[in-house]
Symmetry: C2
Subunit: 697 residues, 2 copies
């Protein structure tokens, strides 16, 4: 009897998992409401726009939607106007984006009044750190959707189907470019057979308005072309790149251009030949210019010799402001170090006034709990975009400094390092899909609020699913699911900062996978700027990295009044405090607590926040499908465990220096420090479903 | 600079660990106050009594303490009288116990008024489950203090020193017997060279009044003697045992007798030859009788065929009540199953009216978190001793049914399965020493309260240590250390019941070491009564083992009014509810909660209790030496982790059947069920210091 019960039980689970694996993302509405669409012509992009309307229309039955392509002063680039009669745009892409906006408004219960919407950035790219062997650097959702192996390059029907789903999803949030291989680029991507596969990708992405880009290895002329040098000023080298560029454009006439990581973390670059970043970038830019291509040149550079890694990109790039071709864009990570849970914005934003500069953010959660932690990154990006650089007076936000509002950039762009993989969820965690969604939405409109984005995403992703199997969408659903789920999303990044690196702490993770805590990490054999000790500088006197004028003076890279504000602990925002200051353990915080107590309170709060997420989530059972409910429930458990590991590791480690008790009212650590120093947090709690969260495709 | 700091820091730790490793137990007072002792004669025991007075006296300087041996109607057995002038007793042992009591009163600030104290039980034994190869069954404090290996039997000076410390500690709490090898006995213990070692042990234990006993294997005549049978009625077998008995008594004239586990869990016994427990026990009893020896025959028997293991000892032994020799004592485990966190008392207590019956309790924490969890067992034993059997009317407690108050037993005795080992703490956890202490104190006086025992032990163990290095003992010390530490001890067993097996649940542990949770354990290949499924009987209808009249009728083994009280869920104490009843998940508890909710609340409460222990303990830093403080702090962390594992495992497993949510206000699980089912909880959190808690001797 008991055995029979079990069999039925498990069968139920298996059947249901197939029913809802999250693969449909936020594109779920299958409407049967008839609509008449009038399109100006047939084309791949317009056909997709028509198809979207026909399968997703939930307006008045038998309405007529007119798609109109015409010039309009108020419509810029791929922008659009929607109104009662249809969609107007000056490009086919604009029509497609307008259609997605129209459907989104219908599906999220927003009014479809007359609206003009123009993109904040011309180029809105995903950067895929996908290797040709099929692995994904910092990818936590299975293997690459683009690559299977260097010897398995033929394009299959399955490939095309998946790429098409991918392109549709990206287009639906306004993205228009994909760089399809890792910035740590293999020269082999430029081989004929690999380029044939890239053409295959481009052909599937094009009908959704997605332009294809490639990351290139600066040593390709030597390593692939057999030349003796890759010196960018060498005529043979230029010739080689010229031929390669021509070959690419012959295959992909609308190829977008190159993304380059040069002289960074061991990657080759022009400095290897005594040349400058400008020499390297300009050489490539000149070659793609005739085809309308661009070069995105990354500013993520640092060497072990300089005393403060956070200063280096600025020091290395500022001298070349104005020296780059107009089709070069300097791609700058949001913060001066490397995608930490919280960094102040990179001082390059707004400072390079004569160069196109684009922000790079990370959608994949390299430092934010991988695909195990629910961390909605939109609030982090919103914080970045709204940060005021003061470079051209108050209001010179990072957004306005990069989107053309202030500087007359030839090109405006933004890039997000993608979190896609073959996992059936695409992103490893159902809520990680929201980060892909949010990046697209912010790239389109950098003034959107995270609250609005979360609201949209939750409605699109969960309201239109599993109908008949969960409580009906309505006022109760909104109160008991939408509101608390949104609240959790909006709070989640601050929770992660709290349990990982509060008060401006950064780069104190374990060397095993950038996942768990490792504040103790600092072997003598390691590059100092790859250790945790370098960044937290904890000793019995205090903690924090002194970047003030009496320290490394990194503060001076910021425009006044920021330089002075950051320089003084009394005016420095407390969430950046230990980024800029080394302060005594009994430093008095604004709350009245000592620095040590405040640190403890933050770590503890992070743990409590995740526990509260768990409680809230469990209350939502029944309001969405059971499969995604359970999956997220399990992920939240892992997150709660990990938060405890972080709290215990950091507090017990720093307590060796602070020599102060953890405030008596706080829950005590449950791990011993030496235990935490011995384990690999990444794998310690691993279980099968962490490694393959849902069925792999 | 940082390196130098570290070196000093670690040196400090190492030096300090040596300074306080807990090896001195509760015997710490080194007093310099001079005292004059008048002893009636010189003897090994009396010399030890004099020595204790001289080194531990903290009364008035230059007092005279007179030790007097004389008959006195009010002094029974090894009892004593203490008063202003000294100690009076009728035996040398009595003098020794009186001296220890006198010193204890001085050291714990109790008045030394005229007091007569007689032991509740004549025989107060530790049972050591130590194997000849040096391992200890269910021992969690390192290897055996008695055995190193079957080929390493020579007695060394180190052996003698350790045994002497052991004997002194046992005597100080009134114990007077030690069975020095495992009840799962090797026949080899009766070989000449092993017996020579036993003589060595006995010679060291004797001066502290400790009598030596041995566990014997019932097949020894075949396996050691080379006979064809071990049938207890076979003349050759009797002859063999007779010769062996003579050999032992020649070596150890005051040898105590035999402890026998027969026909139990694969051990041989008289039933193998168609004989009865009485046949077997009486044969051995007749042989030791001339020497004044006794036989302790264990009633821990059960076979896989009977439908309810809890009924079996009673069924098997009751028919032989009155059939045993007067120097046989039936040794009965406290509960009917096996040392679970909570069991009702064994129905054999009080029921065998014509046989000497002795309780066996377990000091080592086989089912109570090993030496990782702080669980003060005194409250459990107090609960047992005060349980009313009603066998001779109200007030027929287990204590009175076994200590001679009710029945005219020839011998009264009590045994505790020891928790000693070579670990420098003796017991693996500093607080596990308190269980050794408490067992001795209750064996001496089964009316003592756990509160008094805890108070004594804490003062003796922590107040007399590390003087000058911690806050001075006094009113503040009592308020901030003694009171909360005592509270923690007194609450600790209930906390363990809460996070392991509340409401009468039992035997739902993991098969890996009786340590972690394993409610799911029930492979088809296993004996049903060795699985968890057999004991919790959870299904969608409810949970619990139906031992009512309509179930296995185990209730009928109890005397009225207990049988009726246990039989009715409305009158059954709720802490035994699921021991006796299978009840629906929505059964209404006295609290008003459903059974499911109540179960959840108990598990959660257990976790919260351990967390509160942690908070309280951390507040005590500075009131005791740093070494033991840190060690216990680390153990409490492990306990908190384990409590979470227990809670999550049991709630998530049972939730599959209850199909009800965990009450919304409770903290959510942080482990997934399939993860917990895959790990071995015993080793999952293991770290070096768990395996060798403190330096091994």
């Amino acid at each position: 009897m008991k055995m029979i019960f079990f069999s039925i039980f498990f069968l139920f689970i298996i059947l249901d998992l197939k029913a809802e694996d999250g693969h449909e993302l936020w594109l779920r509405k299958k409407s049967a409401v008839p609509v008449k669409v009038v399109s100006p012509k047939k084309s791949a992009i317009l056909n997709n726009a028509v198809k979207e309307l026909q399968q997703g229309w939930s307006g008045k039955a038998n309405s007529t939607v007119k798609l109109t392509i015409k010039k309009d002063k108020s419509i810029k680039d791929d922008g659009f106007r929607i109104d009662g009669s249809g969609v107007t745009a000056s490009t086919e892409r604009g029509i497609l984006y307008g259609v997605f906006e129209l459907l989104r408004r219908q599906q999220t219960n927003q009014p479809v009044t007359s609206v003009v919407s123009n993109p904040s950035y011309q180029h809105r790219l995903l950067n895929h750190w996908d290797n040709l062997n099929g692995s994904v650097e910092q990818g936590f959702a299975g293997r690459s959707i683009f690559w299977r192996g260097e010897n398995d390059l033929a394009v299959t029907e399955n490939d095309r189907k998946l790429w098409q789903e991918y392109a549709r999803a990206s287009a639906s949030v306004g993205l228009n470019g994909s760089s399809v291989n890792n910035v740590n680029a293999s020269p082999l991507v430029l081989k004929e057979d690999a380029l044939a596969r890239v053409k295959g990708i481009a052909d599937v992405l094009r009908p959704y308005g997605i332009t294809t880009y490639l990351s290139v290895n600066f040593s390709s002329p030597v390593r692939l072309g057999g030349l003796k040098t890759s010196d960018p000023l060498d005529p043979e080298v230029i010739k080689w790149w010229q031929a390669k560029t021509k070959e690419i454009y012959a295959l992909i006439p609308d190829f977008g251009g190159f993304l380059v990581k040069a002289n960074s973390e061991g990657q080759p670059g022009p400095q290897d030949f005594g040349r400058t970043h400008a020499d390297g970038a300009n050489m490539l830019a000149d070659l793609v210019k005739p085809y309308g291509g661009i070069v995105m040149w990354r500013a993520f550079v640092y060497s072990p010799t300089e005393k403060d890694r956070a200063r280096q990109a600025y020091l290395e790039f500022m001298p070349f402001d104005g020296k780059f071709r107009d089709n070069v864009i300097i791609q700058v990570k949001n913060g001066p170090v490397d995608f930490q849970p919280r960094e102040p914005f990179s001082p390059l934003f707004g400072a390079m006034k004569k160069t196109s500069v684009m922000p790079e953010v990370q959608i994949t959660q390299e430092y934010l709990g991988r695909s195990n932690h629910l961390v909605f990154l939109s609030t982090m990006w919103e914080e970045l975009l709204k940060s005021d650089t003061y470079q051209e007076g108050p209001g010179s936000t990072v957004a306005r400094s990069t989107d053309g509002s202030i500087y007359n950039q030839k090109h405006t762009a933004i890039a997000g390092v993608a979190n896609t993989g073959l996992d059936s969820t695409w992103s490893g965690h159902h809520f990680a899909q929201a980060n892909w969604y949010a990046f697209g939405r912010l790239a389109w409109n950098n003034k959107l609020t995270s609250e609005q984005i979360a609201d949209e995403w939750l409605r699109l992703t969960f309201a239109n699913s599993a109908e008949g199997k969960t409580k009906a969408v309505g006022e109760e659903w909104e109160r008991n699911f939408l509101v608390p789920a949104k609240q959790m999303m909006l709070e989640s990044r601050e929770a992660a900062v709290n349990y990982m690196m509060p008060l401006g702490l950064h780069h104190i993770f374990s060397p095993f996978g950038h996942y768990g805590p490792g504040p103790w990490y600092g072997p003598k054999s390691a590059r100092p700027d790859w250790t945790s000790l370098y960044y937290h500088q904890a000793d019995t006197a205090g903690i924090g990295f002194d970047r003030t004028k009496s320290g490394t003076n990194a503060v001076s890279q910021y425009h006044e009044p920021l330089a002075s504000q950051f320089n003084d602990p009394a005016t420095c925002p407390e969430n950046y405090l230990l980024w800029f200051h080394h302060l005594p353990w009994d430093y008095k915080m604004k709350s009245g607590h000592t620095l040590w107590d405040e640190l403890c309170l933050h770590y503890d709060k992070g743990v409590q926040q995740v526990r509260q997420f768990q409680k809230n989530w469990d209350q939502m059972q029944g309001y969405i499908d059971e499969e995604r409910f359970s999956h997220v429930q399990s992920k939240l458990r892992r997150q709660a465990k990990d938060a405890q590991v972080w709290k215990d590791a950091c507090l017990l480690y720093f307590q060796q220096f602070s020599r102060r008790p953890i405030p008596a009212e706080l829950e005590r650590p449950v791990y011993d420090l030496d235990f935490l120093q011995a384990i690999r947090p990444l794998t310690f709690f691993d279980q099968p479903q962490d490694r393959a969260a849902t069925p792999q495709r």
